[in-house]
């Protein structure tokens, strides 16, 4: 038991468990942010955002989320480096895409691209919001207005789109792979997991991409059109 999580399979279990948790986070994140596309979306999104930013249970889970992300990143990078060292002399002719998909072999690279995007993303929204709550006005910032402002810059929009595309490829392998690692990808559930994983990997990043793009092209109502009722 002492090596349970540190053996080669154990390390992969850590990746799988944190990976599935992060998929769970993406569901919530995607759901709440996509409220902006609904009628009366600014109010719906602002209320949901307020709940997520102030509810003590959610704020506690947030600590777990950060721990999970950091564990996933550190363990992932370490595994990538360790696995690479297991073949010190490479092949002259590599098999390329004959026997495996490029994105399944590029999880470390895709993950690193997502990490770079994440640093920018967190500094755009999460950091100023928490700063304002704890060190500034004591309230949250207007996140809708913030999005509207941030997504005026075409370079930022492009980085977000590329970040989400990296996420899509990462998920396309990571989703089913996590279930395989956790021993749950049984023949009975394999088609369901694979199908669900593929749909998830395409739909969720597309919804995320739609946000910066919609703000940039001005398809969404301006933040100034919303007057809080209280």
């Amino acid at each position: 038991m002492k090596n349970f999580l540190t053996s080669s399979i154990g390390k992969k279990l850590v990746m799988g468990i944190t990976g599935v948790s992060l998929i769970g986070f993406l569901v919530v994140h995607c759901y709440i942010n996509s409220l902006i596309f609904l009628p009366d979306g600014i109010r719906r999104f602002t209320e949901a955002g307020h709940f997520m930013g102030t509810n003590p249970i959610i704020r506690t889970l947030e600590i777990g989320l950060f721990a999970g992300i950091i564990l996933h990143i550190v363990q992932g990078l370490m595994l990538t480096v360790q696995n690479k060292s297991k073949r010190p002399v490479g092949y002259n002719v590599s098999p390329g895409n004959k026997s495996s998909k490029w994105y399944s072999r590029s999880m470390g690279l895709l993950g690193t691209l997502i990490l770079l995007f994440l640093v920018m993303h967190i500094s755009h929204f999460w950091v100023p919001n928490r700063y304002s709550q704890h060190f500034g006005s004591g309230y949250e910032i207007n996140l809708y207005e913030k999005m509207e402002m941030v997504f005026q810059d075409p370079i930022v929009v492009l980085v977000y789109v590329l970040g989400c595309i990296s996420l899509a490829w990462h998920l396309l392998h990571g989703f089913w792979s996590a279930f395989q690692t956790l021993g749950l990808y049984t023949p009975r559930y394999a088609p369901l997991i694979k199908g669900l994983g593929t749909a998830f990997s395409i739909i969720v990043p597309l919804i995320f991409i739609a946000m910066p793009v919609a703000f940039y092209f001005g398809w969404l109502p301006p933040a100034s059109s919303y007057v809080p009722s209280h």
Partner: protein
């Protein structure tokens, strides 16, 4: 299939021993029959080298029937060459055409050091088996057939896993040089049968520990092993290996 002869250029990895620096040597072979196996083509080349007073190329082979797992060779970027579910001895020269250049390399993995030329040391697999790939429970005298009821699907799955010949193509093909497919086949083969059930927990923990000690990488589920396995061992066995590992770990069993 129509018979034809071909002239080929071969780029073969030559390495004196584990310590020395190897390099590719280029050879040409003429009038190779399309009906030869790949190893027979190498026999022709080696005869040629002996006639020229040069040292023949060292490569592993034994049964030449596709069942022993001795032959290796990474041929044009693929373990055992371009054909699906085929060992090198069963790869025939009709897979190639006149004028082709074929690059032949040894298995590349830290856990499989080169002994000489195309021959690598695969005893790491033996040590993994020694760590638990057997049963030590007393099964008594041979019983009547069907005394132990085993469901057909379990028997089939176990047999499919047992067809692993331990050639190491999975390690050679995996970008992480992981032995997961090999190990999973051995674990699944025994875990599915009542004879193997008694020791399934310590078996999986011991074998995983040995695999890690040997210096194989971790599985990242790329599926390259399954695609290159000459026996078509399914990565569903790796799913089972993971499940066995979790079950053993959570039950508090320890590797001995």
């Amino acid at each position: 299939m129509e018979h034809y002869n071909m002239n080929l250029t071969l780029k073969v990895w030559r390495q004196q021993n584990a310590q020395s620096q190897g390099a590719f040597e280029t050879y040409s072979v003429k009038e190779i029959s399309s009906e030869m196996s790949f190893l027979e083509m190498f026999d022709v080349l080696n005869e040629q080298l002996i006639h020229e007073g040069k040292e023949p190329i060292t490569f592993d082979h034994d049964c030449r029937e596709g069942i022993c797992g001795a032959c290796s060779m990474h041929i044009n970027g693929q373990a055992h060459g371009p054909w699906h579910e085929t060992t090198t001895c069963q790869l025939h020269m009709r897979a190639f055409k006149d004028g082709d250049t074929i690059v032949v390399e040894p298995w590349r993995a830290a856990a499989f050091p080169v002994i000489k030329d195309l021959m690598v040391d695969r005893t790491a697999f033996d040590r993994i088996i020694q760590a638990g790939g057997y049963i030590s429970v007393n099964t008594g005298n041979a019983q009547d057939a069907n005394n132990l009821p085993i469901a057909k699907d379990k028997a089939d799955e176990s047999f499919a896993a047992a067809t692993c010949i331990g050639c190491g193509a999975c390690v050679a093909s995996c970008k992480n040089a992981s032995a997961s497919l090999f190990l999973s086949a051995k674990v699944a083969h025994l875990a599915l049968l009542p004879q193997g059930d008694a020791e399934r927990k310590t078996r999986v923990l011991n074998m995983v520990e040995q695999m890690d000690k040997e210096g194989f990488g971790a599985c990242t589920n790329t599926g390259a092993c399954e695609a290159e396995c000459p026996k078509g061992i399914s990565i569903m066995n790796i799913r089972r290996l993971n499940a066995e590992y979790i079950r053993a770990g959570l039950s508090g069993s320890i590797a001995k």
